[in-house]
Symmetry: C2
Subunit: 262 residues, 2 copies
């Protein structure tokens, strides 16, 4: 039986790898790297660096071109999800081919997942589709990793949660469409390509970060009224400088931390 | 200047420590362990085991009695939060004393945090209070860790999020009081002492785990209608067997993953 591991590698700091993740890499016969096209060289380089640092040269890396994704920004939410589903089906074909062609029947293969495989990552979903097709069987291991949200909180030295209160995690697309959620005063926003933080009130606090954990890290925090323009400008400048951007943020509605009114 | 690090150590599997966390432990002059009274020997043992495994005997551990906490289960939410605030103030005194008495002025001290310091952990808040008092200054480092939620998802081999959809993280207390949130179909519940998952619909799915990542791990998943009684029974039996329980779960309302109707 083949063994396939999905290994969370964190969001940019190679020292965020866990002992469990390193052991899984060391035990692997093959590490699969899917080149998404949208990923820039710096990200590919980071993955290679992680393999070389922790597996000391014995790491066999197989790179494949991932399915290209329809990223039309005018999609409404439903269309967006349908485009993602189609993209995943094409990925399932690619993943299945990698497993049959590049992995011996008793081999161990690793897929690297940015951040944590459980948070806005599709690797597990794609492997579920591969399994459902029935053409190649495998044992599955899932290794959690430090997500960009956690790295963000650590660098800002804040807790994401307040005593006994909820935390909402959502996407920039939803925040832009739905506004600040009525049911939570602490909102983490991921995958925001449109500076959706402008929906927040002037007095809300924002803790923003880009390329968190890497040498290119940028951190900005403060009242939305005070820092929104600066974040938007830094974000655009960084995107042009690097050719891509990876950022996330916490929006926090101020208020008594002992609040139990909701 | 003293350096104080808050290091996330995961929720039970010593291999969930990151390279960054291990390096921080190795650089420490003192590792502080706060005995909460409510914590059982197995947890204290796990922390000691982590120090010995990764710091190979050179680890100076200072144990102190933490402030006792008012855990009256009849508290309403507001009273609960007030009790936590009072508890934190008393903890701030204890932490300040540890820093001044046990750490040289250029020393490096580490506080271990279960899971991730950013998720329902009060260490950062308490150290903020220590700093605000102004009696002892320090540089602060925060090292993220694998939370019990991530360990849970990894062991169930699931993603916590669905494509483009939000994730809500809340407490058992709130879930019991407010019911299943209307605004999110994926809800992580922490700190649930009352089997609040019974508020879910019969068709909702639950992914439950206790002592996740430890040799005592228990995992149960299925339709709430099918497994709620079994979870309640296993939970109670385990609590009696171990003297304490640490569990968490995801509630998932079924539905088209391409849903964009909300």
């Amino acid at each position: 039986m083949r063994t396939v591991s999905v290994v969370g590698i964190g969001s940019g700091n190679p020292e965020h790898l866990t002992v469990q993740a390193i052991n899984e890499l060391k035990a692997a016969d093959v590490v699969f790297m899917l080149d998404k096209g949208e990923e820039r060289e710096s990200l590919t380089g980071l993955r290679t660096q992680i393999c070389e640092r922790y597996v000391s040269g014995a790491c066999r890396i197989v790179t494949a071109s991932d399915a290209r994704r329809d990223r039309d920004p005018t999609h409404r939410t439903g269309q967006y999800a349908a485009a993602v589903e189609d993209w995943r089906a094409r990925r399932a074909e690619i993943y299945a081919r990698l497993l049959t062609d590049e992995l011996a029947e008793d081999g161990r293969g690793v897929f690297l997942a940015w951040g944590d495989p459980a948070l806005y990552d599709s690797t597990l979903h794609v492997l579920g589709e591969v399994r459902a097709r029935g053409t190649v069987g495998f044992d599955l291991h899932v290794i959690p990793g430090i997500s960009s949200v956690q790295a963000l909180a650590a660098r800002h030295q804040i807790s994401l949660t307040r005593t006994g209160r909820p935390l909402h995690i959502t996407t920039g697309r939803r925040l832009a469409a739905e506004g600040f959620p009525a049911h939570s005063d602490d909102v983490v926003v991921m995958l925001d390509a449109r500076a959706a933080f402008r929906v927040a009130d002037a007095n809300d606090e924002i803790y923003w970060g880009a390329y968190v954990g890497t040498p290119d890290e940028i951190l900005i925090s403060g009242r939305v009224a005070d820092v929104a323009d600066r974040i938007a400008a830094e974000r655009e400048a960084a995107r042009q400088r690097h050719g891509w951007i990876m950022d996330t943020y916490l929006l926090r509605r101020p208020g008594d931390t002992a609040d139990g009114a909701r």
